[in-house]
């Protein structure tokens, strides 16, 4: 510690010009790094792991074409689809296939009926769209009345869905963005050129890729808005707290530089901004603000007491370097605990968070004293810096702390009981995950998705692979019999909106015919397009797949449905097919999100146990270690318990927010411990309770200010376009506020109650 302080004093304080040049050069390097930052949603790699659920999903993805790479286009017309609007739609369907990257299409025009005479499939819609009678009958059939297969047109014939499959090579986010851009241009052209008699065509684009593209767009917008607003809000709160424009301005330089250096490092180290790391920059900004405020307060106080300018800076750094390092260490520890996760993206967050906080610490320790050394050469700033203590205010605060110390036992017991109660509500964890939680329901992609699901049913599915028993092939009649039995069983499962497999595709295509040819799966399936086959039949033709089309109502609902489907299949006497474990993106993400959130909770517990131990070791005080537990567990348990009570459950973001907020909330406790430790070293003290009283009177205004700045900075997340980032911000603010309350009330009470029986060990 002494070496670090010496290094700071020898560089930033003793050689300000050289230090400024070095920092300026590093800032240019960091600015270049910022331009190199990559944006990705990270949702593709969120669940990558060795877990059975992910391995099942990977195996299934190798055998069957995935529906997740589809783009859904909703086409609406005011007057209902007629020959004129269908002709325009047909024109669009032909034209859209020239968009680079689109490999297959499914629409009302690709629906087929079995032609008995030719023993082949022919389009459901008539070649002549002006044949009103034939068209009317075909549209009725296409709306899916009486079928469990997904419909392609709404019952009122005003909306239809076009499904576009895209090349796997272009399903990465860069390729998708290009396809979506070209697609939007095309739909705009068709919407503008629609003929009057068709009622006009209106287009909407959605699908999981579209949602991912919306997220990427949101991430880019967020970075600029959140960080800028965070810095402005931090400045405003500093202005209010310090009541000086110049002090607030000086106090803002270091956090902004910390943000720049951290983002620069992200850019140079190839750490992308994704749905999890999106809130990290603003967190770094506010953490650096918090440390800067403690240093600014102390420098001003010392100047107010008459210390010389350089002396005040040096003495402040000697006192404040230690708590600044410790607070950063506890936050780094909280981030590091996320390394426990199996998810690469959460481990990336751990690395980015830990390194970001470390960079911010280095910037605060070296730049903030330098800023003061330089600022003091400017007369107007020098004049505004000293701040004498105001006794009137401290007397009022002192009264409150006298009362707290007097009732320390009762307050400690109440705190312990509240913690136990909150933990009782929180545990066992009620986890919750939904892919669409990352976008607002008002986002165009979400609005269109809702409409598409109303027309064609859910686009997400629970996939049940069915393996053919040894010696059985697709032309075996028992395959079709088993499929029929499986369909009947699954259609009875509550909440399943439709069941899709080759069985009901054939049923629908051959409805109203007397043919038995359609019962020979291998022969008739050859007539379906490759794309349809590859979704429902494995490449080696040894597996079929049944898709339970279900809405994504969250991981708990999916887990419930999987159990019901398993039960429904367990009672069947199957001869040719053997159902495998349900899988698919929905099942995989629901299963793994649950285990990931639980892992994150373990990470939190690791952090919760490690940090008090670290505090105890740092200050060499057992009473500090014990006192740190309840005031820091209670805010997290309380917020988590509240989420559980309101039915929201613990989402991935909540688990992350609570873990990180714990690390940050602990900072206030550390500053209390540091102040008490400094007072304890002063031999003029009288009793331990007086020590606590003095420490709390001294530190409480700083804690209130830092919490206000932290909360104000994090408040910037409320302008995020992503609901999960907004939730992250709210949870952090709630935790900070509760942590402040605990640090001001519970912490002094517990320390007082313990009466320091352990003293120094």
């Amino acid at each position: 510690m002494k070496y670090i302080v010496k290094l700071i004093l020898q560089t930033s304080v003793a050689r300000p010009i050289i230090s400024m040049v070095v920092i300026g050069l590093l800032a240019i390097l960091a600015a270049v790094g910022v331009l190199r930052i990559q944006y990705e949603d990270g949702l593709k790699t969120l669940f990558s792991s060795e877990s059975p659920a992910f391995q099942d999903y990977k195996t299934q993805a190798k055998s069957f074409t995935q529906n997740e790479t589809n783009i859904a286009v909703l086409v609406e017309t005011k007057n209902g689809f007629n020959s004129a609007s269908l002709t325009e739609l047909q024109d669009f369907i032909l034209e859209v296939q020239f968009v680079d990257g689109i490999t297959a299409i499914r629409s009302i025009f690709s629906l087929r009926r079995f032609d008995e005479a030719n023993e082949s499939f022919s389009p459901l819609l008539p070649s002549d769209l002006n044949d009103k009678k034939a068209l009317g009958a075909a549209l009725k059939s296409a709306s899916g009345a009486g079928s469990t297969a997904p419909a392609m047109i709404s019952n009122d014939l005003k909306q239809t869905v076009v499904i576009l499959s895209i090349s796997p090579k272009m399903s990465e986010i860069g390729g998708t963005a290009k396809i979506l851009h070209n697609l939007r241009q095309l739909t705009d052209e068709f919407a503008q050129s629609a003929r009057f008699d068709s009622g006009g065509l209106k287009f909407g684009i959605t699908g999981l890729l579209s949602v991912r593209a919306s997220i990427i767009k949101g991430l880019k917008t967020d970075q600029m808005r959140i960080n800028l607003l965070g810095a402005v809000l931090g400045f405003i709160v500093s202005l209010i707290a310090f009541r000086s424009f110049w002090v607030a301005a000086v106090n803002t330089i270091t956090p902004v530089a910390a943000l720049l250096f951290s983002l620069g490092a992200f850019g140079w180290l190839g750490m992308p901004i994704n749905v999890l790391t999106n809130a990290l920059p603003v967190l770094i900004l506010v953490l650096a603000s918090s440390d800067s405020i403690h240093i600014t307060y102390e420098i001003r106080r010392r100047l107010g007491l008459g210390e010389g300018e350089l002396e005040a800076i040096k003495n402040t750094m000697r006192e404040m370097a230690s708590p600044s390092i410790l607070t950063s260490l506890t936050t780094i520890l909280a981030f590091s605990s996320l390394f426990y996760s199996q998810s690469p993206i959460i481990r990336d967050l751990a690395l980015a968070g830990a390194s970001g906080v470390f960079i911010a610490l280095v910037v605060v320790l070296f730049l903030h004293p330098l800023v003061f050394v330089i600022a003091m050469r400017v007369p107007i700033i020098r004049r505004s810096l000293p701040k004498a203590p105001k006794p009137g205010k401290t007397v009022n605060i002192g009264g409150i702390f006298h009362a707290i110390i007097r009732h320390s036992r009762s307050i400690s017991v109440i705190g312990a009981l509240l913690s136990a109660g909150a933990l009782w509500v929180l545990l066992p964890l009620q986890t919750s995950y939904r892919f669409l939680e990352n976008i607002d329901t008002t986002t165009p992609a979400a609005v269109v998705l809702d409409k598409v699901e109303k027309v064609a049913g859910p686009i997400s599915s629970i996939n049940i692979p069915l393996r053919l028993n040894v010696g059985v092939n697709l032309s075996d009649p028992s395959v079709n019999q088993d499929l029929a039995a499986i369909h009947r069983a699954l259609e009875q499962v509550q909440e399943v909106r439709s069941v899709l497999s080759v069985f009901n595709l054939l049923e629908r295509a051959t409805a109203g015919t007397s043919t038995t040819g359609a019962r020979d799966l291998s022969r008739v399936l050859a007539l379906f397009p490759d794309r349809v086959q590859s979704v429902l039949i494995s490449k080696d033709q040894r597996e079929l797949q049944v898709l339970l089309m279900v809405p994504d109502n969250g991981s708990r609902a999916v887990a419930r449905l999987v159990k019901r489907a398993d039960r429904a299949l367990a009672g069947l006497d199957l001869k040719a097919l053997k159902p495998a474990r349900p899988t698919g993106f929905l099942v995989m993400s629901s299963t793994l999100s649950d285990s990931m959130i639980r892992q994150l909770t373990i990470s939190f517990l690791i952090a919760a146990l490690s940090c008090p131990i670290l505090i105890g070791l740092w200050f060499r005080r057992v009473d500090f270690a014990l006192a740190a537990v309840i005031p820091n567990i209670l805010p997290i348990a309380f917020v988590g318990g509240l989420l559980t009570l309101t039915g929201q459950g613990i989402q991935l973001t909540s688990a992350l927010a609570l873990t990180i907020a714990f690390g940050i909330a602990l900072d206030d406790s550390i500053h209390v411990f540091n102040r008490l430790d400094l007072i304890d070293r002063d031999k003029t003290k009288v009793t331990p309770d007086q020590d606590i009283w003095l420490g709390m009177v001294h530190i409480s205004p700083v804690l209130v200010t830092t919490t206000a700045i932290l909360s104000a900075g994090i408040m910037a997340t409320q302008v995020s376009v992503m609901p999960m980032i907004r939730l992250f911000g709210l949870l952090c603010i709630a935790t900070f506020a509760l942590a402040l309350l605990c640090d001001l009330v519970l912490l002094p009470a517990i320390i007082s109650w313990l009466k320091r029986p352990f003293r120094r060990v």
């Binding site: 032909l94 296939q97 690709s110 082949s120």
Partner: protein
């Protein structure tokens, strides 16, 4: 629309034939085509749209490559047409609906129409099929592309593809 596929024509011999040269140059440019197709040769007709680009690859050879789409799917279309020294004979290797296989074609031109006949029949989806492709460079600058398919065993004939190409500005 995997049934309309790339056409590869390779004639090693190069040389003259001024009318053939002029005829082939008529295919050079960007084209958009509209018409009908019977995907398996004998089923119901569907609307088709193609976008291709004709390029001269040697003095007596042009490529005609692009993509065609129907309401049920799309596929690549490539055409490489070459003539021999005399400028009267043409040969081609074709992948074209409904055969789904690489097929050799050969033929002649009569005026501004090139007729390419499939050299060997091919079995496709239970049918033994042969095709005749007719390419006509119309006086108004448009190209007519017709594929006539014959089921040799059932002795059935059907026009599997008819597309009129217009030059894009």
């Amino acid at each position: 629309m995997r049934r309309i596929l790339a056409v590869l024509v390779m004639l090693a011999t190069l040389p003259s034939g001024s009318f053939a040269t002029e005829l082939l140059s008529g295919f050079v440019g960007a084209w958009v085509g509209e018409g009908t197709v019977r995907p398996s040769g004998f089923d119901a007709p569907q609307k088709i749209r193609c976008k291709v680009e004709g390029k001269r690859t040697s003095p007596l050879q042009i490529s005609f490559a692009g993509r065609c789409a129907t309401t049920s799917g799309a596929g690549a279309l490539g055409l490489l047409i070459a003539t021999n020294k005399s400028g009267k004979n043409y040969a081609a290797k074709v992948l074209l609906s409904p055969s789904d296989a690489e097929v050799d074609f050969s033929g002649k031109n009569v005026g501004r129409t090139i007729t390419l006949t499939q050299r060997e029949p091919i079995r496709n989806r239970g049918r033994l099929l042969t095709s005749v492709i007719t390419l006509t460079l119309e006086n108004d600058g448009m190209i007519g592309f017709i594929n006539q398919v014959t089921d040799i065993e059932k002795n059935q004939q059907q026009q599997a593809l008819e597309v009129i190409f217009r030059r894009l500005p």
